[in-house]
């Protein structure tokens, strides 16, 4: 029983990471109806850059903002090279392929810089677990949940309260109309990509002390975060948190009770099932097509 509760705890922590990355998908999808297929690689780069900084002796709490700056820049590059030209020629195939290509390039660079092995990422706390409801929980897991939630809240507050955030929301509602109102929608889209990669690299620094950091970690994570975004609905903030927890817990449970080799399978199957029966996601609204 203790083990079970413990697995739930770590599942929730993992799920919150998926939720943060899924949140990144939502950000870009709302402004430009595009997704970064290399989102997982943004997370991986965040953790690897964080690891390098950590090896230089920089404090974990200082690493977080530095990695966020890196992620911001990385997202800008992705948008500029991969998405902007595709939006201009209105090619869906274009941005899908080019963000995939950029993801591959990023991973290949990471492999060449840091090698293919995985590394331990030193966290800010000792690894002594705390007892919570009779089961062990790591302080780092609590930090992951708090960090993920506060990151999403921060971005939401920014979008709702600041005038720049309102520009983002306006672009999300109607890009053409926002453009006519004098909002530089191109800049808003770039910004949404930068924010999206920022949240992903932030998630990378958060999760790495719990798992391991390695150049191959991105692909599966990006895909599972997408599953979360779909299960929760691409427009629902609550949806991705719930979806993240469902998938995270199902993953840790499968990993323990079935086999670690199969741990990615339930999330992907949940994804396929949700798409078959409720394509808009559990919390998403079904849109009506217009003719």
């Amino acid at each position: 029983m203790d083990i079970f509760v413990q697995l739930i705890y770590s599942g929730i922590a993992l799920g919150m990471i998926y939720a943060v990355v899924a949140f990144g998908y939502q950000l870009t999808f709302s402004t430009s109806a595009t997704l970064n297929f290399g989102q997982g690689e943004a997370l991986m780069l965040g953790s690897m850059v964080g690891l390098t900084l950590s090896n230089l002796g920089i404090n974990y709490w200082l690493i977080i903002p530095l990695v966020c700056v890196f992620g911001f820049l990385q997202g800008t590059v992705v948008e500029y090279l991969g998405v902007r030209p595709a939006i201009k020629i209105k090619s869906e195939f274009g941005w899908i392929m080019s963000t995939i290509a950029l993801g591959i390039i990023f991973r290949n660079f990471a492999e060449n810089i840091w090698g293919r092995s995985t590394f331990r990422f030193p966290g800010p706390f000792e690894d002594d677990p705390i007892k919570l409801f009779g089961a062990n929980i790591l302080p780092m897991e609590i930090l992951v949940v708090l960090g993920a939630v506060s990151m999403m809240l921060l971005v939401e507050i920014f979008n709702r309260k600041s005038i720049y955030g309102k520009a983002v929301v306006a672009t999300a509602n109607d890009r053409d109309a926002a453009g006519l109102m004098g909002i530089n929608t191109g800049l808003v889209i770039t910004f949404s990509y930068a924010l999206s990669s920022l949240t992903a690299s932030f998630a990378g620094v958060l999760i790495s002390p719990l798992t391991l950091a390695g150049s191959g970690a991105g692909g599966a994570l990006g895909l599972k975060a997408f599953a979360v975004a779909i299960v929760g609905g691409l427009s629902s903030g609550l949806g991705i948190v719930v979806g993240g927890i469902i998938l995270g817990v199902s993953e840790t449970l499968t990993g323990f009770y079935v086999s670690t080799g199969y741990k990615d399978v339930p999330s992907l199957i949940i994804l396929l099932i949700v798409l078959s029966f409720k394509p808009a996601g559990l919390f998403g609204k079904t849109t009506i097509k217009k003719v």
Partner: protein, 644 residues
């Protein structure tokens, strides 16, 4: 056509003689792999090129084929000739398993779902060791056929024969009604559904056919490599397939072969870093010189060429920085994808075609011309006079269509009598097009009943409703733009075919007969609207008025009982309108009932038997044209109330 046939024959002869002159098995094996990849790419092109979907699951399907072969060989010792068809069937089943959920969604979702599917397949191959031997892999020997142990060269010929066969079959499928449906659903999904061609169903077909070819390629690959292991069928392979398709050129078989050749030979070509440096340097020089030329001739701007110039020069610098190229293979592929996606969108074949056309300024369309001969068909339109439909062909009772708080249709009753022209007018936003969308199943009404020909159509999908006899045109023309006029109509005639996939693949008599009949009728319908001269012109090249006429002809191909014309006269010139009136009258003479939405009052008043008026989603008047013209409520709706 003859030229293509000769080229194909010459290609096959050269390729079959190749291993006799080039005895190095390394090269024979390389060509063999190109052929195997080509088979997969033919299939992938159906999904990517024709239906316009992105599949990231084809490496998985390729793996399914390879492992079906491997497992059957290793565990059960099944012979080669039985394994091949089983591998195809199993992959088709997996394809169906993927397509059924995936194709309910569109665009980026499909890409991600297929990616998820590919990942699951890879995990299963890795983990189900009792079946697949897991990471150890399976060793397979070259097949024994009727007691004869084949060697590399024999197997090469087998692969060549199968790929040539695949080429022929794929060509037949794509030229048939299936290929037309695939293209139609990409160009305009809504129109496709309203022509009785269910978008979902045909997308699933496309995917399953494509999966079958992937499975065939996979099983051939297993015997070719003689060893299969899970880490072949990974994400990178899928991306490689997509790169091959877009680089070679979509919607051409030659493009698939060129693409396969590139992705197979490139790693070899780039095997040593010196060669790569030379290639990168040459590429950089070409791009810089080309850009300089374009700028000097004012054909381009510094801004426009900046990215490719920086990219290629960067690649050159990069090539001198690295020591070991194989570590950077994926980056180079990624870079190629970026380059192809933005600067070579039509692929190599498309680029050469465009170049050729510009040089020789030939205007010949790249599409196959359908030779219609001199058919004269007056009865292209099936008369609806003898239909058993009740006198009240269409019966709407208190229909409500609500979007959030807006009631686009509010308590609408409407009866349309058989054989009449029923005008439907009303100011903008009064709910006319909403009504048409309700009638064709695009919207499901919030409440109320809709009976057509005595049975309810509420909740039925568009394609079903279309096949039951309701055809329509669209307010904003929805033609299949990249298809010719006659092909557009033949999509509407899809319902006249009974032949199945095998009859198409084998070109059996029934299929040929149906194809000929459809061509003749399509030509007859074009004649009916006066477009026979433009039969082989792409729809997007027609003038606006002609596009509207083509839409009517296409709708008539469905053999409708009820034809819904949504503003057919919008944007037409006065002589065109006269022609349109004649056509509408002729359609009525065939016994087909018409609902006519129109803002040109002279058109509505000239042809309608009954006119209904909508305003703010409600029916405010109904009667003979004369009565409507003098109805104070109608005048108020259009001109506003008098202020006395």
């Amino acid at each position: 056509m003859r030229f293509k046939f000769l080229a194909l024959a010459a290609g096959i002869i050269i390729l079959s003689l190749f291993p006799i002159f080039q005895t190095n098995t390394y090269y024979i094996h390389m060509v063999e792999r190109i052929l195997i990849y080509s088979i997969l790419l033919f299939g992938l092109d159906i999904v990517v090129g024709y239906t316009g979907q992105v599949s990231l699951g084809h490496a998985g399907l390729f793996g399914v084929g390879a492992y079906t072969a491997g497992i059957l060989y290793f565990k059960l010792g099944v012979p080669f000739l039985i394994i091949l068809p089983i591998a195809v069937i199993v992959s088709c089943l997996f394809g169906a398993l993927l397509a059924l959920p995936a194709l309910k969604v569109v665009g980026p979702y499909i890409a991600m779902v297929t990616l998820a599917f590919g990942t699951i397949i890879q995990i299963l191959i890795n983990e189900m060791t009792f079946l697949t031997e897991g990471p150890l892999g399976i060793i397979i020997k070259k097949p024994i056929i009727f007691g004869f142990q084949t060697k590399e060269i024999h197997y090469y010929w087998i692969v060549l024969a199968i790929s040539a066969l695949s080429l022929v079959v794929i060509n037949r499928i794509l030229k048939s009604r299936l290929g037309r449906s695939f293209e139609a659903l990409r160009d305009s999904p809504v129109a496709c559904d309203c022509m009785g061609v269910s978008v979902y169903k045909y997308k699933v077909y496309a995917f399953i056919i494509s999966a079958g070819f992937a499975g065939l390629a996979g099983s051939l690959y297993a015997y070719s490599e003689q060893y299969i292991s899970p880490n072949t069928y990974v994400f990178e392979l899928t991306v490689l397939f997509l790169l091959a398709i877009i680089m070679g050129g979509r919607k051409t078989r030659l493009g698939a072969i060129i693409g396969a050749a590139i992705v197979i030979t490139l790693p070899q070509l780039l095997g040593d870093v010196k060669l790569f440096r030379i290639v990168a340097t040459a590429l950089a020089f070409v791009v810089v010189a080309g850009s300089a030329l374009l700028i000097s001739k004012k054909m381009s701007t510094v801004r426009k060429v900046a990215v490719p110039v920086i990219g290629t020069v960067g690649l050159m610098a990069f090539s001198y920085l690295i020591k070991n190229i194989s570590d950077w293979r994926l980056s180079i592929f990624g870079f190629m994808i970026l380059l192809v996606v933005y600067y070579l969108q039509d692929g190599i074949v498309g680029f050469v075609n465009n170049f050729y056309m510009r040089i020789f300024s030939s205007k010949k369309s790249a599409r196959d011309q359908i030779d219609v001969g001199n058919f004269d068909k007056d009865d292209a339109i099936i008369s609806a006079k003898n239909s058993s439909a009740p006198d009240q062909l269409l019966n709407l009772k208190s229909v409500l269509m609500q979007f959030g708080g807006l009631k686009a249709l509010h308590d609408v009753d409407l009866i349309v009598k058989k054989g009449t022209i029923h005008g439907l007018i009303g100011p903008n936003g009064s709910g006319k097009s909403t009504l048409i969308n309700v009638l064709t199943g695009i919207y499901v009404p919030t409440s109320g009943t809709v009976e057509f020909s005595g049975s309810s159509i509420v909740g039925k999908v568009s394609a079903k409703i279309a096949l039951s006899g309701i055809a329509r045109t669209f307010q904003n023309v929805q033609l299949f733009n990249e298809m010719t006029a006659i092909e557009n109509i033949m999509v509407g005639l899809n319902h006249t075919y009974k032949s199945n996939l095998f009859e198409i693949a084998l070109n059996l008599p029934r299929f040929k007969r149906e194809e000929l009949a459809a061509k003749q009728r399509a030509y007859g319908l074009l004649k009916f609207v006066g477009l026979e001269e433009l039969a082989n012109e792409e729809a997007r090249n027609l003038t606006y008025g002609k596009q509207r006429l083509l839409e009517i002809a296409r709708a008539l191909a469905l053999d409708p009982n009820l034809l819904l014309l949504d503003e057919p006269a919008a944007g037409l010139t006065a002589p065109d309108i006269k022609e349109l009136l004649l056509i509408i009258k002729k359609i009525k003479d065939k016994g087909i009932t018409i609902i006519l939405i129109e803002h040109h009052m002279e058109v509505v008043m000239a042809v309608s038997d009954v006119v209904s008026v909508l305003d703010f989603g409600q029916k405010i008047a109904e009667g003979k044209p004369k009565e409507i013209q003098n109805n104070p409520k109608v005048i108020e709706a259009y001109l506003g109330a008098q202020t006395t």
